[in-house]
């Protein structure tokens, strides 16, 4: 479904992504691990089109999308949620989801017609609200809901574009253990044909949801394999998991 071939990116003399080649199958749940500065978010930016790669390719469903800008990649089916909330604060939860759903439904430039009242948009909003567990707060304003709900909405907004691939940058960032467990249920409830690529620091969540794990260090892929293999990897313990196990 999503593939990178020898993807590289440098900022001046610093190589932030080095020859990264990964391949995700349709419906796969892949977790990206790596210490701070490993190039995880840069990889997401390269996949989403926010950054242009110096070399290498990004392929979606076999088609080269390397040269496509952000919006066109999104319309092809790549959506993302951010580590920091990028929600529309003055609007309600429903309106936030509606903005995303309207783009997907082709209602975002409709004149003299409220996109939120379009049947396709309403249907998507209801469906995503159920998936992201936001039904109870649909009419609340974003700046009036708890942080945990905002994190759920961050994922919900990305889901409302009905993506084929969802890039999730630390979805549980800043939430407590109870909410993190709730996120596990949320991720488990997502459609099985949706491909997920997740950056996550919560190891328990990572190992529970991942079909496969990729570890980045200094911009390079240093490990790729099953979660069980990741747990037993000495290299991983050395560069990343040591600090987790000793914590």
């Amino acid at each position: 479904m999503l593939e990178t071939r020898n993807l590289s990116k440098s900022f001046g003399p610093i190589h932030v992504t080095r020859d990264v080649s990964i391949r995700l199958e349709r419906g796969e749940r892949r977790v990206i691990l790596g210490p701070n500065g490993a190039g995880k978010t840069t990889l997401f930016n390269l996949l989403a089109g926010v950054l242009q790669a110096d070399s290498g390719q990004v392929l979606l469903a076999g088609k080269d999308i390397t040269a496509l800008p952000v919006a066109r990649r999104a319309r092809r089916g790549i959506s993302r949620s951010y580590q920091k909330n990028t929600l529309f604060d003055g609007l309600s939860v429903r309106e936030n989801l509606g903005l995303a759903a309207a783009v997907q439904a082709g209602q975002a430039r409709r004149l003299f017609h409220d996109s939120l009242s379009h049947p396709k948009v309403r249907e998507t909003v209801e469906e995503v609200a159920h998936l992201a567990r936001l039904e109870q707060v649909l009419d609340a304003r974003v700046n009036e809901v708890s942080y945990g709900i905002r994190r759920q909405l961050e994922v919900g907004v990305a889901l409302a574009t009905r993506p084929q691939v969802l890039l999730m940058d630390e979805p549980t960032s800043g939430v407590g253990p109870e909410m993190a467990a709730g996120f596990h249920d949320l991720l488990s409830g997502l459609p099985r044909d949706l491909t997920l690529l997740i950056i996550e620091h919560d190891m328990d969540l990572a190992f529970e949801v991942a079909d496969k794990i990729t570890v980045l260090n200094y911009g390079e892929v240093v490990f790729e394999g099953l979660p069980e293999a990741a747990r037993g990897s000495d290299l991983l313990k050395e560069i990343y998991l040591g600090s987790w196990e000793n914590a």
């Binding site: 309106e95 004149l111 409220d114 109870q136 708890s146 709900i149």
Partner: protein, 329 residues
């Protein structure tokens, strides 16, 4: 996202009643002042759509209004179109030009957007000023008003023309509200919050900005055509950047991003101008002081200040009551 509240309806009703009272009771000078307010109100309404709701602070709306005036004059006087057709034609021309300007400037932000729109405005000013067919510095005269005698209305009468402009303002306001409540308006609101996020959702941001700029241009062109009909004479001074600057002052004075606020600002600005200029030639200084006080008060203009203090009271329920929100879903 634009929302009407009880307080906003109340202010609109007061403004409407005041305009009607003035239209039916004022003498010639009072009617001229009213017409000036109404035309300025249409211009600042259009500017608020892009600046207040889209964050696109334009310094070319004065020039667009001037182009609307010239387009109306050319289409009615030189081309020979009936005035109402010339009015529609002028709006279409300015709308199309504004769409192009919006499409080009959409990729810039902040001070760069302001400078780019200023450059377009100055280019339009220079073109009109230098081109002989537009009369150069002498401008163009002999502009006619639409003939509505078939329905018993003589627009050459100041009272009738004031009511015509008031009807125009009501239509412009309703159109602006309809646009801002549409899918396009919601997308604009999203872009104003986070352009990057909207792009990541798959939205072609520049097209939304261009569309809104074009629609704002349509309304601005309407204001320009009314300005030409009002004075029946136009000159390049209409396109001067100071007209854009003044319009921006009115929007900020009234309340940015509220639609109602700029209408309040237009009333306050024109009345202040006429009252003060009768007392002192330095009236601009007083307007400047008022603007500084408004900006430093951190209130969103006169209307924003009133809305925060009076509109928030219980007798004026604002938006739909917000449900009590659980902490976790």
């Amino acid at each position: 996202m634009f929302r009407h509240t009880t307080f906003r309806y109340l202010v609109l009703a007061i403004l409407g009643a005041g305009a009607l009272f003035q239209a039916f009771s004022a003498g010639y000078f009072g009617l001229e002042v009213l017409i000036e307010i109404l035309i300025l109100a249409i211009l600042v309404l259009a500017l608020d759509m892009v600046a207040g709701f889209g964050g696109m602070v334009s310094l070319c709306h004065g020039a667009l209004m001037g182009l609307g005036a010239y387009a109306y004059a050319m289409l009615s006087s030189i081309v020979g179109l009936p005035p109402l057709a010339a009015l529609v034609g002028a709006m279409a021309i300015v709308g199309a030009l504004a769409w192009i300007i919006g499409a080009i400037c959409a990729r810039s932000h902040g001070i760069y957007f302001i400078m780019a729109t200023l450059a377009f405005g100055q280019m339009a000013y220079s073109y009109i000023f230098q081109t002989p067919i537009f009369g150069g510095d002498d401008g163009m005269g002999g502009i006619t008003r639409p003939d509505l005698s078939a329905i018993g209305i003589d627009l050459n009468d100041s009272r009738s023309f004031a009511l015509f402009c008031l009807a125009g303002l009501v239509l412009a306001y309703l159109a602006a509200v309809a646009v801002l409540r549409s899918g396009l308006g919601r997308s604009l609101c999203g872009i104003h919050h986070s352009e990057e996020r909207m792009r990541a959702l798959g939205l072609t941001v520049w097209r939304v900005k261009a569309d809104i700029f074009g629609l704002s241009g349509l309304i601005t062109g309407f204001a320009g055509a009314l300005a030409a009909m009002h004075v029946m004479y136009i000159s390049p001074g209409l396109l001067d950047w100071t007209v854009s600057g003044e319009a921006l002052v009115v929007v900020i004075l009234g309340g940015l991003g509220t639609l109602v606020g700029p209408l309040v600002g237009a009333v306050a600005f024109v009345i202040l101008k006429h009252e003060l200029s009768a007392v002192t030639p330095y009236w601009h200084l007083v307007v400047g002081v008022v603007l500084i006080v408004v900006v430093l008060s951190r209130a969103n203009g006169i209307f924003g200040w009133l809305e925060a203090r009076i509109g928030a009271r219980r007798i004026f329920p604002t938006h739909a009551a917000v449900k009590k929100v659980p902490n976790d879903a």
